[in-house]
Subunit: 182 residues, 2 copies
């Protein structure tokens, strides 16, 4: 479980990575950067930092910040209340990101499932994204992504985000981060 000082430290790192890229946040946004460890308690390996710019009943836009080699675990966005699941476009802004989706496994894959969770990774069609490149993940499609050795900043444009409906392959995952003590 993350402590308050962990969260503070990871927020500072994310804000610095965004700042290095010329992305300006308000003070309030900086203080509210979401540090998601997904309940796995190993943030540097599996997790990500998020800045949600807007999320209304029609669209959503976020910045995702990944540490070097950090992985956002495999998940999909199922239909919600009769609407198709969330559809999302990942656009790499800095660093490099290896995105794996359902499909023919890529032979010389760069992304490697985290050691302690490897059995929960099952899709291996890899798309490599460098700055300026983007890929749209259809709704209800299994996907996961991992940053390259420099970490990555990724803009996400999507339909409405309802994180609580996300389905992860790893049954240990809790989307809402719990914070313990200082």
């Amino acid at each position: 479980m993350l402590t308050r000082s962990d969260v503070k430290r990871h927020r500072e790192t994310a804000a610095r990575m965004l700042g290095d890229l010329g992305i300006v946040l308000t003070g309030e946004e900086r203080e509210n950067i979401e540090i998601a460890d997904l309940g796995l308690g190993d943030f540097q390996s599996e997790g990500l930092a998020l800045v949600v710019y807007v999320n209304n009943d029609r669209y959503c836009a976020k910045e995702l910040v990944l540490l070097p080699g950090q992985t956002c675990p495999q998940h999909r966005h199922p239909p919600v209340k009769g609407e198709p699941g969330k559809m999302e476009t990942f656009r790499c802004r800095s660093g490099r990101v290896y995105l794996c989706v359902d499909g023919a496994p890529t032979e010389r894959r760069r992304a490697v499932p985290p050691k302690n969770s490897a059995e929960h990774y099952t899709v291996f069609h890899e798309i490599e994204l460098s700055p300026g490149e983007q890929y749209t993940v259809p709704s209800d499609t299994w996907h996961w992504f991992q940053a390259g050795p420099e970490g990555a900043v990724v803009s996400e444009f999507s339909s409405t985000s309802t994180d609580e409906n996300d389905v992860f392959t790893d049954p240990r995952i809790r989307r809402a981060t719990e914070i313990a003590g200082d």
Copy 2:
């Protein structure tokens, strides 16, 4: 009407302003930057450059680039095929942008309607956006915006964009740009 060399020059300027901000475009995106003069033939005064990252049946994301003092003329996004009109969030990335929407007129307003089109500007509730600040314009709401003295780069996150349905106050406006000769 814009000539091909005008378009080339304005594309280069927009690409440079985006590049200065660390925003990387692919070669194809750079070559396809939309230079919209809206049929008014006075791009430096009324118009804007656009990079459309994605526009599907659920959401849309663009970068808008405005020259110093350049104005995107007053318009609204009406309902289309039973769906509410386009809703959009403008997030200022660099420079400054003065956004005017329907509402109580702002007393010490910065935005000034372009001299040759002033009669087509009727809403004067101003929101000033500096880098990191954003504002969401509800659907079917009259709005226009003008860059400050340094120009501006603005990210637009929105529901689906159907430019051909936009309604402009100025009856001379044609949303599709026409290009003449070289």
